[in-house]
Symmetry: C2
């Protein structure tokens, strides 16, 4: 019986007493072979999708949140706080509910996908929307914790990245070694940092023979690391990575440099193309930001960086159901007819 | 590495050649202990939630769809067809995409939750909405397959229930034996039939010592089995079980009778209460129909049917993200303020 990442990888994580562990049995997500996509792209690599949308709240954030909330309990706190583009707040709200403590959430108004907003609300978090972006929300919550007895559960909380590194462990456990390349979306830059740490630790423990080249992808309109300066008003359809001043900026650059990897950007149209390909060719529905990893992979295919037979993993950070509106906007409108056989056959062209 | 239910339970399922298997690595879903809910209800049972919302398309339908679509390929078909209240069409569309074949979908107009509709569309199914209910849609697709070379993948397809029975296997594998009681929503009545078959087969194989009492719950406005006659215009907030003439009616009654169980109904307000409790107390977000199982459990707690220490499993059939609108309607509206510390503190009452 799967008992969540804190139990499963206990020996590889900072200590936490069992009685404080708050878990929704996160982790243990599928690593899906993407055969039709590589056929379509006419590229000779073994491509896998790490489908993090199948975590309990629909995103990879749960891996870090189980640890951050458990540690909050261990230290005697009864409230957590975060800024969020949506996934962090959904996860924080759910784990706070499971723990029986309060969650406070600050989000940018009108820039949170519908599914994510409804999650924070239904799990009973205290939500406030600000007229501003994620970076301003993060500044505000950093100030709040200075004067209030609550734990900040953004990725600057060290237990968040410790939890998130378990996704790299799972990939290595499933493949029997690390992949040659790992592609991942970059927003606040915590996840690329966490994966790199996970791969490095597994290599040091000799559980794998190597670590992958880390390929991180920002959205072109929200690409501070690529451009080398913070972006004041970041813009992209990929709302989960609409961040102009990433908290883990330097650590992400270290991951890139140590792994001989790349941090690059992809356009919204490249992101949406990858998003549709995943849904149409692989039957995998992810949120737009997730598709940045696959858009980056496609960009590398065009640049012909692969020699053949490499193993490549793309992380899909969140489920497509997080953002139904983008899916509807990217699909034809369904036709409505009377409940009669002939009318139905005509629309289906049968 | 988890390879999906057809590989994992191969010996317990009808034969299928490996080369035809179409999988998104469905199954292997968490069985979450619900400690706070039983505390809140002051009831002395071991309650577990089988969280089927963590299947690839967000519902239990994937367990059956992997089998139905694989069998469609094996028999040389290049198209599948279904009627749906939403979850079946989402699953059919995704697995058809993965298989590279066509999916045709007939759904009741205006009665499909937002998330489900967007899934069928983004995965490229041919969708037609009818001015009518699910039961009429099912009649129409039954007629269509008489004259067209496509496979019907509703639960009358025998491989659907064969796949779905694996959820019972997983529960037994996780607990080490079958539970005393199994609570489950009832719509088209295929799932209660499939679980019962799974439990019975495990008992015959002596993998467990017993089978549970099966407790199925219809929504009060869509309760044909409870009322003993088809419902012409079924009504309930639980759109996934808004069905007036279930295809597996008799098999569900058999499951009830053989297991010494119950098929009863719960009101929409009982369903929504259970839905909010799950989100608020357990951090588990399910679609409204899923909460019918827990609403049924609560009803039984009030009737004092438990003597103490029984093991009880409730199936949560789909993820809450399938239906964001119901979540938003059941939550307070978030307040919006300027991006300033004082304004945020005031709203959060800090």
């Amino acid at each position: 019986m799967w008992r969540g990442i804190l139990h499963h990888y206990k020996k590889l994580l900072p200590p936490i007493e069992d009685r404080y562990i708050v878990t929704l049995l996160e982790g243990n997500t599928p690593l899906i072979p993407a055969l039709r996509l590589v056929q379509y792209l006419k590229i000779d690599v073994k491509l896998y999708l790490k489908y993090e949308g199948l975590n309990p709240t629909g995103s990879f954030k749960d891996r870090g949140m189980t640890f951050a909330v458990s540690k909050a309990l261990e230290s005697g706190h009864r409230a957590i706080l975060c800024a969020s583009t949506g996934n962090t707040s959904a996860s924080a709200a759910a784990y706070a509910a499971k723990a029986g403590i309060e969650a406070f959430v600050v989000i940018p108004q009108g820039k949170i996908a519908r599914g994510k907003l409804c999650q924070a609300m239904i799990h009973g978090a205290k939500v406030v929307q600000i007229r501003g972006g994620f970076d301003e929300a993060l500044k505000i919550v950093r100030k709040i914790v200075e004067d209030h007895p609550m734990v900040l559960v953004n990725s600057i909380n060290p237990f968040r990245l410790e939890g998130q590194k378990t996704a790299a462990f799972e990939i290595c456990d499933a493949l029997g070694d690390a992949p040659d390349y790992h592609f991942i979306p970059v927003g606040n830059a915590g996840n690329i940092t966490a994966y790199w740490r996970g791969y490095q630790e597994y290599q040091k423990l000799k559980k794998v023979t190597r670590s992958p080249k880390m390929h991180g992808y920002e959205a072109e309109g929200a690409a501070p690391i690529v451009k080398g300066h913070p972006i004041i008003d970041p813009q992209t359809v990929a709302s989960a990575i609409r961040i102009g001043n990433p908290a883990s900026w330097k650590a992400a650059e270290t991951a890139r440099d140590e792994s001989k990897g790349v941090i690059d950007s992809v356009t919204d149209s490249e992101i949406l193309e990858a998003y549709r390909w995943l849904a149409n060719l692989e039957g995998v529905f992810c949120e737009p930001a997730s598709a940045a990893s696959v858009a980056g992979f496609v960009k590398c295919c065009k640049k012909k960086i692969f020699r053949g037979e490499e193993t490549v993993v793309c992380t899909l950070t969140g489920h497509g159901l997080k953002d139904p509106d983008t899916a509807i906007q990217n699909s034809p409108e369904p036709v409505t007819v009377d409940a009669e056989l002939e009318a139905v056959l005509k629309v289906l062209k049968l």
